[in-house]
């Protein structure tokens, strides 16, 4: 009998998508080891991709020399993921609703909404440069 109860990992990556994909895979590996359900894994994959993209694109403005810090804590029942960029942040309340009729055909602006739908909680720091998301395994 050998049971991993809890794993916390803090990682710093350069602002590029290859590194983001590696971290995303590491997180998915971890929740995989804990036997998360397929819908939970799908949700986590999507939300992690969206928020890493935002940190790299909007936060660090694709400047590879800037770092994205990723922290994830996993146990059998939930995963908590925090992503912090080195940008100036933003006000999430200012982000327009992408499902409003007038925004339906805009090519961007759906990431945060998807994170909120797929995760159980999504919370931004006051300045918006850090987001903490929680997903329960169901």
């Amino acid at each position: 009998m050998h049971r991993v109860l809890n794993v916390v990992k803090r990682i710093a990556i350069a602002s590029n998508f290859e590194e983001a994909a590696k971290v995303q895979n590491a997180i998915l590996d971890e929740v995989g080891k804990f036997g998360y359900s397929e819908p939970s894994v799908f949700a986590i994959k999507l939300a992690v991709e969206e928020c890493l993209n935002n940190a790299i694109r909007h936060g660090n403005k694709m400047d590879e020399s800037k770092t994205v810090r990723v922290e994830y804590e996993t146990d059998a029942s939930k995963v908590r993921i925090a992503v912090t960029d080195e940008g100036g942040g933003f006000d999430p309340l200012d982000v327009p609703d992408p499902t409003a009729d007038e925004n339906l055909e805009k090519p961007s602006g759906r990431g945060i909404m998807l994170m909120r739908v797929y995760m159980d909680s999504v919370e931004y720091s006051p300045d918006g440069s850090r987001v903490v998301m929680v997903k329960h395994n169901r």
Binding site: A21, F42, K45, L46, E49, N53, L104, P107, G111, V117
Partner: protein
């Protein structure tokens, strides 16, 4: 029917309809989206009146960037008086379309023959 293949897309034509199979499971990740977008846009540019079917059978994941790429492709297709159809979208991915209301923007068919027939 002609057939052209790269690692990410399998492109074939049937009459004046172009069928594109998105070929990798993780095809629509951030690293490849812009390349795939370029390939698809090239198809639209080449054709005077593009008729495109995108087969999603093998796509297990979808990000908002991929949705953005599809919206842009859709727009360009229509600007040329063409048509875009999506088909064979797995349920989990289809849910993303519903949540974003993009199922109301795109023509989505369950099967590939249905999508092809809709353009004939």
């Amino acid at each position: 029917m002609t057939r052209e293949k790269n690692s990410r897309l399998t492109i074939s034509t049937e009459g004046d309809v172009t069928l594109v199979e998105l070929a990798e499971r993780r095809i629509l990740d951030e690293v490849s989206i812009s390349e795939i977008g370029d390939s698809l846009n090239a198809l639209v540019v080449q054709s005077p009146k593009p008729r495109l079917v995108l087969d999603f059978s093998k796509v297990a994941h979808m990000s908002s960037s991929a949705l953005g790429m599809l919206i842009t492709l859709h727009k360009r297709t229509r600007e040329k008086g063409g048509e875009l159809r999506l088909c064979c979208i797995q349920p989990a991915i289809y849910e993303v379309f519903v949540i974003t209301r993009l199922n109301e923007i795109f023509s989505i068919h369950q099967t590939r023959p249905q999508a092809m027939d809709s353009l004939k």
